[in-house]
Amino acid sequence: MKKAIITVVGKDTVGIIAKVCTYLAEQTINILDISQTIVDGYFNMMMVVDIAALTADFQTVSNSLAKLGEDIGVIIKIQREDIFNQMHRI
């Protein structure tokens, strides 16, 4: 398993999760966990995903997600999980 974290930040609107999940399914990215909350009035969503079966390269997925975010009006990022583990776990 190779984990990555997808974050979605922006104004809440109908269908954000649906659109992101559809794209992830097309890329054979499996969702392991989803959590969401409102911070400072903004919609914050985090997905833990498995990118082991990913065929496209990481950069392409990252760019496509960013583009999808622009279309919906939110910011979408994908990052390898290691950076968060390194920073927050000893």
């Binding site: 974050t7 290691d82 950076i83 776990r89």
Partner: protein
């Protein structure tokens, strides 16, 4: 499992608080390029750098994309060129050809800077050392992003005052040759006491002779992250203040450690060190001076500044040391003037003087950095400033440095513009009393006693 608030904290550091990895620096030994034929030497140097570092920039960009952390610079450091060029170079101009080769190799691989056009002369100068030093004005004027450093003293050897005197003249000459661009050449030249072998930061990076054939060193940044963390503990005691800095430094350094390990793996080059630094940039919110203000000073330079900086520097080390498996380089808070908006403001308002900056360098890395002074400052005065700063390093067993720019044609009240990460600087007044007789004595200051520490 990582939770949403931890993810948000990390991403806020990057997006709102200017967290970045300042540099991945690849150290490359050029000792195996040594040749008595100058053309062959240049060719070997070019080939070795462009072979070993060919994927450096690409790898840096790949790591940036995968982890979502900006890596501002990808740099190269090489073996001090005075050692490499000694057998081939018969004149200062011969050394200049190597400078151009280094800059050409840097441009070919797309690196941001190359450092190591250096000489280590803490006790004495060889013929090659002196030729390299004398080639500096031309070498710095005729290359774009090549940096140079000269180690003039150490705790073990004392200070080479002949070389200090020479460097005062060389800095003036370098300023003169690049006067059209606010004496920009001097921003790429630094002199040291106790120069580290594994420093990833410019202008002082070189690949020491004690190092392996090639190595990856990483310099982290993050003054903005510390500042933002401290905003949340305003009015709390020193205990809370120090704990907050330590925890923040730990987190910032962990990112550096991750990037260093990943770069090392992808490039198949051993991991050297992480340099635990707070490296400011002229960007708003990326300032070490602003941290000092957040600690409780109206402006950097106010009474209390040296104490505030001392505790900041110490807590950054305490937090960072545990976060990385190998720590080295300069490791500490940097206090350059032109590269830090808070410092620039403090100088403009008269809160911060050259003398106070000198006191501050006693308790942090690195030294008098990116300080613009009037262009008509005498060479001996510059040598005197250098000698003072190196003496602090020699006696306190720490690295100190001077990167000072006598901006030709400018005087106190004017400003010099260097551009990019180097920023801009108000011209600072210099004590006008002479030290000619002191600098002109010649010889060395002996190594200090290593006991009786009071």
């Amino acid at each position: 499992m990582i939770n949403i608030f931890e993810v948000k904290e990390t991403n806020d550091m990057v997006e709102k608080e200017n967290l970045d990895v300042r540099t991945i620096t690849m150290g490359i030994s050029l000792l195996d390029c040594i040749d008595s034929d100058l053309d062959r030497l240049n060719e070997k140097i070019y080939n070795k750098i462009t072979t070993l570092a060919k994927d450096l920039v690409k790898t840096g960009e790949y790591i940036e994309a995968e982890y979502g952390i900006p890596i501002v610079n990808k740099r190269i450091s090489v073996t001090p060129i005075a050692l490499v060029g000694g057998s081939a170079c018969k004149s200062a101009d011969d050394f200049v050809t190597i400078a151009k080769t280094l800059d050409r190799a840097r441009a070919a691989v797309g690196a941001s800077f190359i450092g190591g056009y250096s000489a280590l002369v803490s006790k004495g100068m060889t013929k090659a050392d002196e030729l390299l030093i004398r080639s500096l004005p031309k070498a710095l004027a005729q290359t774009e992003l090549m940096c140079s450093s000269v180690n003039l003293g150490s705790t073990k050897t004392g200070i080479n005052m002949d070389a200090v005197k020479l460097m005062g003249e060389i800095i003036k000459e370098t300023a003169e040759l690049t006067k059209e661009k606010d004496s920009f050449g001097c921003t790429k030249l630094v002199v040291f006491c106790n120069a580290p072998d594994d420093n990833p930061f410019m202008a002082g990076a070189f690949h020491g002779v004690t190092e392996a054939d090639s190595i990856i060193n990483v310099g982290v940044s993050g003054p903005g992250v510390v500042k933002c963390a401290l905003e949340k503990v305003r009015g709390e005691s020193f205990e809370v203040l120090c704990e907050t800095i330590k925890k923040t430094a730990f987190k910032v350094t962990r990112v550096g450690q991750l990037v260093a390990k990943e770069a090392s793996r992808l490039l198949n080059v051993p991991f050297g060190i992480v340099d635990l630094s707070l490296a400011p940039t002229p960007a708003i919110g990326d300032s070490v001076a602003d941290i000092l203000c957040e600690i409780g000073l109206e402006r950097a330079g106010a009474p209390g500044t040296t104490a505030a900086l001392a505790l900041l520097n110490d807590q950054v080390k305490k937090g960072g040391l545990m976060a990385s498996s190998y720590v080295g380089g300069l490791s500490g808070a940097f206090i350059p003037v032109s590269e830090d908006q808070g410092m620039i403001d403090a100088v403009r308002e008269g809160a911060l003087t050259l003398e106070k900056l000198e006191a501050m360098t006693c308790v942090c890395s690195v030294g008098l950095d990116m300080i613009a002074i009037p262009g008509d400052t005498k060479a001996t005065t510059i040598s005197g400033i250098i000698a003072d700063e190196l003496a602090i390093g020699m006696i306190n067993q720490k690295t100190t440095a001077v990167r000072i720019i006598p901006v030709v044609g400018k005087k106190v009240g004017d400003e010099a513009e260097f551009g990019g990460l180097l920023g801009y600087a108000p011209i600072m007044p210099v004590n006008s009393f002479s030290c000619d007789a002191f600098v002109n004595r010649g010889g060395r200051i002996p190594a200090p006693v290593h006991s009786f520490k009071n």
